[in-house]
């Protein structure tokens, strides 16, 4: 097959059950070009590239390579057509060497000693694109950046002309990111093209020739990179309309509930996630944390809820330091948590609804004493949650995995709110919920605030933050870029702060 001069996706639509992940999307990319694909989580970027890589079949639309329609029924078809994909999580065999990993599944390799024939080819590709990596080292000895290079060599050795990269820099250090971009520039000058998925505006501005912005499954903007700046991109990504705020009682915030000073936290990979962060949340107050995900929000939430240990800095809950806390200590200090990955952390899918209704509160009176669970009281409590928080469940005796996402979230929220917590940490509480459930969850959060609770609301959804919060802090690379009140700031200002400018610059 000829090299890819141009690739076009025309009118691509794809639905999962009722959710329209992609609607009528047109995309073109030509040889020598890097196209940035920008959007929030759930905007449909991954669905779109998975269609291109043959993992999903579009409901509608077609794909053309060099003007000819092609059918990509599986990744095999896509590879043969010259499309390679580098996933966010590398698909490498840890114990095998670089050479063996590249030989794995290589169609032209001989049956015996398949790796021998590849050595020369690897050396050639390495020299050509600056892909410096030792072919005889096992994968587990390599850094994330080196592993990514192995993936790139793997794709190139299969003659990939178009490389799809899904958030390639999320696992890299700044140094490694620069090296990656050098490699990508060399590749495009050699006639390759790249589709780069990212939600870091900075990178898009740095490396891409063109950018396409998705929001809720639709293209909301497309431009050559010279025509835009970070602020414009942020607006495209976020959308313009901000709905009216929910009615809230006008209460002055009370005493400080949570005080954080000078907090430093590292991510699982040991990279800096939160740096020198300070904040205060008071009674009768909802503090929103805006920002593109991956800027340290998750690590911040995990630190406050006792799931992660900070490097330095202090976290005070009602004046009590939260040192070496685990989730239980945070809970006893009055912190409740609606977790980001609600099915993974928030419930036990195979246990019954009433058993889930006391998860984390199961050690509290009156749900149990030192030895026995009091299931009569628990069932009563579960019944009240189901009624009080509009959980649509046939009975409290069903397994929670049989509930819909929205009902699971209402159950979790009810469980976390019903005890009247001093502080609620809600991470992306309405992500993936339908309109009705979303509205319900937001109203419950406001009600808790009106009753005297303090709320820390982490969300990527600016609409939500504007509608619900009393104050909004914008987080970027582990720091606050500034704090604003919803009625005294514009979405452009927030957009700029999300892109890494401080309030003064904005």
């Amino acid at each position: 097959m000829d090299r890819i001069q141009s690739l076009e996706m025309r009118g691509i639509s794809k639905s999962f059950q009722d959710v329209k992940a992609n609607r009528e999307i047109n995309l073109t990319v030509s040889s020598g070009e890097i196209l940035g694909l920008l959007g929030e989580n759930g905007a449909g970027k991954t669905t779109l590239v998975n269609i291109l890589y043959g993992l999903y079949h579009p409901d509608d639309g077609q794909i053309l390579i060099n003007g000819e329609p092609v059918r990509l029924r599986s990744p095999k078809d896509s590879m043969r057509a010259g499309i390679g994909m580098i996933h966010q999580h590398f698909m490498l065999v840890e114990k095998h060497t670089v050479l063996e990993n590249i030989a794995l599944g290589y169609a032209e390799a001989p049956f015996l000693f398949p790796q021998r024939s590849l050595r020369g080819r690897i050396r050639e590709l390495s020299a050509q694109y600056g892909l410096d990596v030792d072919p005889d080292k096992p994968i587990w000895e390599l850094s994330a950046g080196e592993q990514q290079r192995v993936e790139i060599i793997k794709a190139l050795s299969r003659n990939a002309d178009l490389l799809i990269m899904d958030e390639p820099t999320s696992v890299l250090t700044p140094q490694e990111t620069d090296e990656l971009f050098d490699i990508l520039r060399k590749m495009t000058s050699g006639g390759h093209s790249v589709i780069l998925i990212s939600h870091k505006l900075e990178e898009i501005m740095d490396i891409c020739n063109r950018v396409m912005v998705l929001r809720k499954g639709q293209v909301t903007g497309e431009a050559r990179i010279e025509e835009v700046d970070k602020g414009k991109l942020a607006v495209m990504m976020i959308g313009r309309q901000i709905a009216a705020a929910y009615p809230k009682t006008d209460i002055d915030p009370g005493d400080a509930v949570l005080e954080i000073t000078g907090l430093d936290v590292d991510s699982d990979r040991g990279l800096p996630a939160v740096r020198g962060l300070s904040l205060v949340v008071r009674r009768n107050e909802i503090l929103g944390i805006a920002g593109v995900s991956g800027n340290g929000q998750q690590e911040l939430v995990e630190t406050i809820t006792g799931l992660r240990q900070p490097l330095s800095g202090s976290v005070m809950m009602k004046g009590v330091p939260l040192d070496h806390a685990d989730a239980r200590k945070a809970h006893t200090l009055g912190i409740t948590h609606v977790p980001e990955e609600r099915i993974k952390y928030g419930i036990v899918p195979n246990l019954l609804l009433y058993e889930n209704s006391v998860l984390k509160r199961h050690r509290d009176e009156p749900f149990s004493n030192w030895i026995q669970m009091n299931y009569a009281v628990i069932k009563d409590h579960a019944g009240k949650l189901v009624d009080g928080f509009n959980v649509d469940a046939p009975s409290i005796n069903i397994r929670v995995k049989n509930l819909s996402g929205g009902n699971i979230q209402k159950l979790i929220l009810g469980r976390e709110i019903s005890g009247g917590p001093d502080l609620l940490i809600a991470a992306h509480p309405t992500y993936g919920l339908d309109v009705g459930a979303t509205e319900y969850v937001r109203k419950q959060i406001i009600e808790l605030r009106d009753k005297g609770g303090a709320v820390l609301l982490v969300s990527e959804d600016l609409d939500e933050l504007f509608m619900v919060c009393d104050r909004i802090a914008v987080m970027f690379e582990g720091r606050f870029m500034g704090q604003v009140t919803p009625d005294s700031c514009t979405i452009e200002e927030i957009g700029l702060m999300m892109a890494g400018s401080t309030l003064q610059e904005a």
């Binding site: 685990d326 200590k329 809970h331 977790p339 993974k344 952390y345 928030g346 036990v348 246990l351 026995q372």
Partner: protein, 361 residues
């Protein structure tokens, strides 16, 4: 025609029971093939097995005798498996329990009345099994060592240690050179029902143990926490459950139950410590299947323990009457386990068969 496998959204008690009996039936059919291939009438062989175990007073008494260790160990295993802690080391936890109670019996026994000595020997056996069971729990949580490997390997260590004791330091002066310890004092020997090898004390301990463990798993706070750990470790962390404490206590109980079985065999049947394979006829492994057939409910091991004890007794019977090899029982048990585990798949999945060709959209 096309066969689809779909996750099952709802399951009912009736369905679970149907699948359970379906798996047992399928297992029996597969075993029938093995019998037929070795030239034996399968129906007759299976009938003989159950006739041998449940068809006579003698058979029933033997079945109950062998069910006791299976219930003790199986209920402890069921509890561990509920937390997805795969304890394969009950065989050695049994042996260490037997070692501990032998030491107590031989050293303190001569000076104590039965009413003190018997509970003391049970207690020491429980502690021995518990300590041996806690080792893999600590190894897993502190160093991430897979418990299947560690519990399995600890079996060999305990077995060799028992051999060392009975040929070495503990070799009995009264046993004429055989690798046995001396007999336990009379106060340590459990009384049995007339004309049987069933000790009422031991039987009560087994049944009560299984019921208590069942209560612990489904009614206690500790049981709630082990079920959360077993079903979703992320949620367990989120809800602040102390993994170390919970799993160590869990394995202490699981190992302790196996230790009780060791003491029971010693005090009721053997009366002295001898080679590991004469003390336990692989009870620690058969109990894995007992726990599985009980659907990991410790209380149900009372029934599944009797069932597998029946197969052991009946298997012995057909060895003699039909000239089947000794491995027959192992094949039988293995087949049943494989089909039970396959049955679990149908509890979580349903199969849909569509007729006609499918057309790709």
């Amino acid at each position: 025609m096309q066969i689809d496998l779909l996750p099952r959204e709802r399951s009912t008690a009736t369905l679970n029971l149907l699948i359970l009996f379906g798996s047992l039936l399928a297992g029996l059919l597969a075993i029938s093939v093995v019998f037929a291939l070795s030239g034996v009438n399968p129906a007759l062989a299976i009938f003989s097995i159950f006739k041998g175990s449940f068809g006579s007073w003698y058979g029933i008494k033997e079945t109950v005798t062998k069910a006791i260790p299976l219930i003790l160990i199986g209920s402890g295993l069921a509890m561990a498996y509920k937390a997805k802690f795969w304890n394969i080391g009950a065989e050695s936890q049994l042996l260490v329990g037997a070692i501990f109670s032998t030491w107590v019996g031989l050293n303190w026994g001569p000076h104590l009345p039965a009413i003190v000595l018997v509970p003391l020997m049970f207690l020491s056996a429980f502690i021995g099994g518990a300590l041996w069971g806690m080792v893999p729990a600590v190894l897993k949580i502190r160093f991430g060592i897979n418990e299947v490997i560690s519990t399995l390997m600890l079996n060999y260590i305990a077995a060799e240690f028992v051999k060392f004791l009975v040929v070495g330091p503990w070799k009995g002066a009264t046993k004429g050179g055989y690798p046995y310890t001396d007999d336990l004092p009379a106060a340590a020997i459990l009384k049995q029902f007339p004309l049987s090898r069933i000790s009422p004390v031991l039987l009560s301990v087994a049944v009560a143990g299984a019921l208590i463990l069942g209560w612990l798993v489904y009614r206690s706070r500790f049981g709630y926490e082990i079920r959360v750990i077993g079903e979703n470790t992320h949620a367990a962390r989120y809800s602040g459950i102390n993994f170390f404490r919970t799993l160590v206590v869990l394995m202490a109980i699981s190992g302790g139950m196996a230790g009780l079985a060791g003491a029971g065999e010693l005090m009721s049947i053997h009366h002295y410590l001898s080679y590991p394979d004469s003390l336990s006829a692989g009870y620690g492994f058969t109990a894995i299947i007992v726990a599985w057939l009980a659907r990991l409910n410790p209380s149900f091991t009372i029934i599944s323990g009797l069932f597998f004890a029946g197969i052991i007794v009946g298997g012995d019977a057909i060895q003699i009457s039909m000239g089947m090899p000794a491995a027959t029982v192992d094949v039988f048990n293995g087949m049943i386990l494989v089909f039970l585990i396959m049955g679990d798949f149908f509890i979580s999945h349903r199969v849909r068969i569509r007729r006609g060709r499918t057309v790709d959209a």
